[in-house]
């Protein structure tokens, strides 16, 4: 007999929808505060600590300021697109959280077990690119448009390696459902060990998809003023910022789910008790993992604040990541066909895959040389 909140449809709907929407928004506020304190340590300073205890009210204060600011619409903007773009951008990121397995669902948990979860995620997050292009076009500003085009180019290019890495995950798990992916990791081992190359490709690709540093072409303040955000102000700009942070959180949740075992502990090391307590422990474990990934994103941002040139950037996607992703998929497919998928897979493929990861990265490292910013003299003559 399941508890009432899990058995009754409307109770589940209310709890789940409200909790996830509200929880994600709260998560942004909390993580952002944590992140800002964390970033500041990289610059040997203490970060915001004036507003409320330990600066906890800094993020609400910033949000309030954002809401109260004047909303300016450029004269030559495409009015409809300009207004719609923030909504188009925010909606898919928000909706993508619907399939996120925050906690164990087989025992009566939070996430609905959508059996095409991975396809849904890939499809719905691609909509962000459309919104970005709409924002760039609708602003009536050439730099915004250029930035929008760059984002779309980035998203299209990096979608391929990301999806190929996801297929590797789906192959190994034998399912497209995120819950099954987590279940398989609980059965065997974290996929970050089972397919380290896939993890690296997915991580780098998602950095690009989520416009995180060092791939933040969406903003690109040294090249395109402020990117697609240039003509936005007030609440709409706030929506852009919110979406950026939500994409970061979505990315860290995805990495935690697909490669770090989601709500499960390390393999079968710790099986949670049944019932609400187990669900709660799973939720806490999941949030801790996602937070750790988010902090790594901040670490990367602090280490590499700059961007690559756009041609190097595209070359990296098409010449570096895509062949690697195909090879990674090939290796995993061979393993799955040879030894059986999921639970039949012997654990020693971890060693093979880690070795393959190292060898392939070393082999491909020659291709990643893109001139190092030097002008090719022969080409100029």
């Amino acid at each position: 007999m399941q508890p009432f909140v899990f058995s009754n449809f409307w109770a589940h709907w209310a709890i789940f929808t409200v909790a996830v929407l509200f929880g994600v928004l709260m998560l942004i506020v909390a993580l952002l505060w944590f992140d800002r304190r964390f970033w500041s340590r990289f610059q040997i300073r203490v970060g915001p600590n004036r507003c409320g205890p330990w600066g906890l009210l800094q993020i609400p204060a910033d949000g309030l300021k954002m809401v109260l600011k004047e909303d300016i619409m450029p004269d030559n903007a495409d009015k409809v697109l300009h207004v719609m773009a923030p909504v188009i951008i925010m909606f898919p990121v928000m909706v993508a959280f619907a399939v996120m397995p925050f906690a164990a669902s087989a025992r009566g948990g939070l996430a609905p077990n959508l059996n095409i979860g991975l396809i849904y995620l890939v499809a719905i997050t691609s909509l962000v690119g459309i919104g970005m292009l709409a924002a760039g076009w609708g602003s009536g500003n050439k730099y915004s448009l250029m930035s929008g085009m760059r984002i779309v180019a980035t998203m299209v290019s990096y979608e391929f390696p990301v999806v190929l890495a996801l297929i590797g995950v789906a192959l190994m798990a034998g399912s497209l459902s995120l819950n099954d992916v987590v279940g398989m990791q609980q059965e065997k081992m974290w996929f970050v060990l089972m397919q380290p190359l896939g993890f690296l490709i997915f991580f780098i690709g998602m950095l690009a998809e989520a416009s995180r540093s060092p791939f933040d072409y969406a903003e690109g303040e040294s090249e395109t003023i402020c990117g697609v955000n240039t003509e936005y102000s007030g609440l709409r700009f706030g929506v852009f910022q919110l979406t950026e942070w939500m994409e970061g959180i979505l990315m860290s949740c995805l990495v935690a789910t697909l490669f770090l075992g989601g709500y499960s502990f390390l393999g079968q090391l710790w099986i949670y008790p049944d019932g609400p307590l187990g669900v709660f422990i799973g939720l806490v474990v999941f949030l801790l993992k996602a937070t750790m990934v988010y902090l790594v994103l901040g670490w990367i941002k602090c280490t590499m604040p700059g961007r690559l040139r756009i041609d190097q950037w595209m070359g990296f996607a098409w010449k570096g990541l895509l062949p690697l992703a195909v090879l990674n998929l090939f290796i995993i497919a061979v393993e799955v066909v040879g030894f059986g998928r999921g639970e039949e897979l012997p654990l020693w493929v971890i060693v093979i895959n880690i070795l393959a990861c190292i060898v392939l990265i070393l082999m491909w490292s020659r291709l990643w040389k893109t001139g190092g910013g030097r002008v090719n003299v022969r080409a100029v003559r």
Partner: protein, 174 residues
């Protein structure tokens, strides 16, 4: 042999992480203060009523003409300083007044936090400048004060919480 396989990125990550593990060097200013130089040229002067003879050498040496001295003759037939006014808003902190005083009656103050709403508030009368028990006297041109002052700190002294009551702020004096 092999190309850049991300070695530079890993190196950079290590550098930022080692910096992140350092203690922040931020000075939380109103709560924590650094010790100023012992010979700081503060925004005020400290005027010793007992030593001043009203000779007005300071007023003559002032390049800006900031110091106004009005004297009268008292019953002992010596100068009585009726007015000693300093316009700190026009002061260039050259220190000539302090150096020229033949009776060591004029010193720099160690205060540096004078913020006012009106320029007129920066014109100090002799009652603002008069040397008292809690006057913060700088050792500028007067090294005899050196010994009593705390050493200058350039970084926050965490062991002593960084707070040295070297002087009270102007608000506390009022």
């Amino acid at each position: 042999m092999f190309g850049p396989y991300g070695k530079g990125i890993l190196k950079g990550l290590k550098v930022t992480l080692t910096n992140a593990l350092r203690r922040p060097i931020t000075l939380q200013y109103p709560d924590e203060r650094l010790n100023t130089s012992k010979r700081i040229r503060g925004v005020k002067l400290v005027w010793d009523k007992e030593r001043c003879t009203g000779c007005a050498t300071c007023a003559k040496s002032c390049l800006q003409g900031n110091i106004v001295i009005v004297t009268s003759r008292d019953k002992n037939n010596s100068y009585f300083v009726e007015q000693f006014t300093l316009d700190a808003g026009r002061c260039i902190f050259c220190g000539l007044c302090v150096e020229s005083c033949p009776y060591s009656a004029l010193f720099f103050s160690r205060e540096y936090e004078t913020v006012v709403y009106d320029r007129a508030d920066l014109i100090y009368t002799k009652y603002d400048l008069m040397r008292g028990a809690n006057s913060a006297i700088s050792a500028y041109y007067h090294p005899e004060f050196d010994a009593g002052l705390p050493d200058q700190t350039l970084l926050l002294d965490r062991e002593h919480k960084g707070i040295h009551p070297t002087f009270s702020s102007p608000k506390d004096q009022k």
